[in-house]
Symmetry: C2
Subunit: 201 residues, 2 copies
């Protein structure tokens, strides 16, 4: 019973991994033995500025967000993580030094955590995992390269439209304020944009 429940919980992660590498049942068990499941309540912090990110985090239910707060006190959302996504402050994870990002829950959320130090060990016992996480890092890298270009070349309205088409499910559950902090405008301007502009054109 217990093991069956666990398998359910790890299912999404294992499917995610199976897209790129295939693990034997023993490897799977070994890998899973390092995982920890955790619940994060809406608005609860997982990390705050200054914390060292010791875990890689995978979302199985709900939604997390990572953001930083600038010297003027404004939030800038770096990423939303829906089920099937990983999230973290990469710099802190790599260097194991205090990070600059906050991570908290947009909704009640379930996550799987894996200690970075355990993962580094796992690379030695199951080298295939290194293949998986290389691909993961490369994909994340590619996504950021693309968002970089978008942020430089698109207007606020275009960034909003891109956000809608990229994350249709998020639009429904996020407040306008959150969306504004992601696309990089003030909530007031987003409101004006949504209410005035369509009428004129």
């Amino acid at each position: 019973m217990q093991s069956q429940r666990s398998e359910m919980a790890y299912d999404l992660l294992l499917k995610n991994i199976a897209m790129h590498i295939s693990l034997s049942p023993e490897e799977k068990d070994h890998f899973v033995s390092y995982l920890k499941i955790k619940k994060v309540r809406k608005k609860q912090f997982l990390y705050q500025e200054g914390d060292i990110h010791r875990h890689v985090v995978f979302v199985t239910e709900g939604c997390l967000r990572s953001y930083s707060i600038d010297p003027h006190g404004f939030e800038h959302i770096v990423q939303f993580a829906l089920p099937g996504w990983w999230i973290g402050d990469m710099h802190s994870l790599i260097s194991q030094q205090p990070g600059s990002m906050y991570i908290d829950a947009v909704d009640d959320t379930k996550i799987i955590m894996l200690l970075k130090s355990d993962l580094d060990q796992l690379y030695l016992t199951i080298p295939k995992l290194e293949h998986f996480f290389r691909i993961l890092a490369e994909n994340a890298f590619a996504a950021y390269q693309r968002r970089q270009i978008d942020n430089l070349s698109l207007s606020a309205k275009e960034r909003y439209e891109k956000f809608c088409s990229l994350y249709p499910s998020l639009i429904r559950c996020l407040s306008q304020k959150q969306v504004a902090a992601y696309i990089g405008v003030t909530p007031e301007f987003l409101s004006k944009m949504l209410n005035h502009t369509p009428l004129h054109k």
Copy 2:
């Protein structure tokens, strides 16, 4: 003589790799046998929009830049690559589909190229290489995550100052136009910023 010259040429790359993994002399030779050295003249294209990026590229001398051109015809520089840096359109490299980025030479440049398909093979024969490229991808990812935050939270002036302190050697050899295209302002505005602002304060 030939082999000595080659070793010189690969020296920077091998040192770069040796920072994270140690290869046996045979592994080194095997790895090196896949590398190609190439010169790129100033202003010469290495890739244009629509090209498939089949190689990973490592700069040993000079400087490359990657950029995209938006629908209005404006260049947005994504990265400069000085000696010791890698450069490429990650999305195209991963998917082997036509890329959206240009790469050309800021100065006369020497590079080392490695076919992505060869690299994928090398991961199998020398698994340590996968470790190296995982770390590389993670570092690149972390750098973009940071630049993302900067672009959202810093003013044009602050981005300029950050660029200067991050790449002091580049400031000297780049035109203002190039710097402007990197920090995301028009050349006119950068000029105004540099000449007017210091006088007032």
